[in-house]
């Protein structure tokens, strides 16, 4: 157990013991090597289950949606940005969440044909690994406790994304399982427009001509909202590089509106702004 994990366990145990939260959402060891999975710590004893490593790929703010209790949650940098957006969208009550931020290690994955793990592409694109929101900061032994850093901004901070050679071909790999939507911390619509059982925009079935529509509409829904956590890509069984598409669209939003999602809880999202910075206006 690492020092961070020990401290994490102590923090969680204390929060539960003192009755400050109903439970803590964190990660525990998975059943497969190199996999950590979500866990819900409800007793102080269970807090020793908590782990913190480069395999914490699931985005936990997903589990805040619809929760009535006050809960603790362990977040990476991107997850913190997701919580900021959820608070702005009034899907999460700031007073009902205790945000615990250990130092973000990013997510590492093995590449095909090699056992070496490298940082995920979406982590490389991250504007700032420090979570913009934090109630309890956990530092590892080697770093002093820093105040939460104000992340760098500007059109240079988000790298212009590269994508696959043909998005049309990538979309044809899609099996319409909706894992991208279900794993996304910012997808909280109870009647999803892209779920054919609730909407007439697309069928429930995998109709090939609807595949570009599905992904383009999703990308538009992610414009100015996606925080680049990569949960969608980690969940996708067809290995479609979704974060490349959403990063591309967010580059445009940043260029036009000067807005990067999740960074500043007081910043109004572009959809509410009456006057975007479009040339010639």
């Amino acid at each position: 157990m690492s020092e961070t994990e020990l401290k994490l366990g102590e923090v969680a145990a204390e929060l539960i013991r003192d009755g400050k939260v109903a439970y803590v959402i964190g990660y525990e060891k998975g059943s497969i090597a190199d996999r950590s999975r979500p866990c819900f710590v409800t007793t102080p004893q269970d807090s020793t289950k908590l782990v913190w490593n480069e395999h914490c790929a699931v985005s936990l703010p997903k589990y805040l949606i619809g929760t009535k209790d006050k809960v603790g949650i362990v977040v990476k940098g991107c997850d913190g940005r997701a919580i900021v957006e959820l608070i702005k969208d009034k899907q999460v009550d700031r007073d009902k969440v205790v945000v615990i931020t250990p130092p973000c290690l990013g997510v590492k994955q093995t590449t095909q044909g090699s056992s070496e793990e490298i940082l995920a592409r979406y982590c490389e694109r991250c504007p700032e690994r420090t979570s913009p929101i934090s109630d309890i900061q956990i530092t590892d032994g080697s770093r002093k406790a820093d105040a939460v850093q104000k992340p760098k901004r500007g059109t240079g901070s988000t790298k212009r994304s590269e994508g696959p050679a043909s998005w049309k071909e990538e979309f044809q790999k899609c099996i319409r399982c909706l894992a991208c939507i279900k794993s996304c911390p910012l997808c909280y619509c109870t009647e999803c427009e892209l779920d054919g059982s609730m909407s007439s925009l697309v069928s429930k079935l995998r109709i090939p001509s609807e595949l570009p529509t599905f992904h383009l509409v999703r990308a538009m829904h992610m414009a100015g909202r996606c925080v680049g956590c990569g949960a969608c890509e980690a969940a996708c069984p067809a290995d479609i590089p979704l974060t490349d598409l959403y990063a591309r669209i967010n580059d445009e939003v940043e260029r036009i509106f000067g807005y990067v999602p999740g960074i500043d809880i007081n910043e109004v999202a572009p959809v509410e702004l009456p006057r975007p910075k479009v040339e010639g206006t």
Partner: protein, 337 residues
Amino acid sequence: MTSYYIEKSSSKRMIDELARKQKVIAPTKEGSGFSFKVVSSGEEACLEFTNTTISPKSVFLPQLEELFTYDIKNGRVKDAKGDGDEPVALVGARPCDSSALLILDRVMGGKYVDSYFDQNRKRTFVVGLSCSKPEPTCFCNVFNTGPIEGAGDDISLTGIGNGYIARPRTDRGKEFIKEHPDCFREATKREVELFERESDRVIESMGNQLKTEGLPERMAKAFDDPYWQELSRRCIECGVCSFVCPTCYCFEVTEEINGNEAKRSRGWDTCLSCRFSRMAGGLDPRPTKQDRLKHRFYHKLQYIPVTFGAISCVGCGRCVSRCPSNVDIREVIAKWQ
């Protein structure tokens, strides 16, 4: 059962031969993984793979299948042949996927035959391929659905050295071997020994201490266990498990109307999705996430065994490796062991 031998190079030729007379579906390299696709030659197929993300069940139960078209005005059915009855060869099906076909046969056959599935089953020749490197998530040995021979194979191939031992399991398999003496010859005693050693090696390499005896009964007793509430908390109801599973068969039916013609199709659906069991009027017997996740396990491990006499899991491990939240059916099987 007589064992035959085929050189690795001849196996490419065997695929070429098959492709001459029918559509051949085999594993191909796709991106960083593999997937079953139509190939026109042995060169296009890649038999050095562990397994594909999506099972080859789509050869028998396509993800999108046209059922029939009809005239709206008089209801006369115009075309009801589904995907047709031209012969197909599925090459490289792993034992788990092959064995899954026999489980699907029980559900789709019997008293009420699903004619489309039946047609696809009858027209498809299955050449199975034994596993040599099971994944840590594989547990077919628990259900005896692998790792060497698949119950749905017409011919089972097991790699030894520079070739494969070929064991025909059906009359069709035997016939095919007889028709291709340029590819197959009878295996020597030494080669059969190598095959037996290889089989033992692979089976031994798999751990898995799961007990399946009495599993349906254990599940029945555990219906109200608080474990289900705990397990379902991290499930995100994405349904990827159902999509990758070789024994899942639930489907949704839709109709498209174009002018005077209507087309009825069906396609894969998942019982994890929140409106799956919702009925007209709004009643839903599985309204919560817990209900739905629990249902998946009960369907596989208790309902199908009780109704159709077989546990509906073949241990392919796809749901285990692809579940974003690491919901693991092996843990469910072991829970009340």
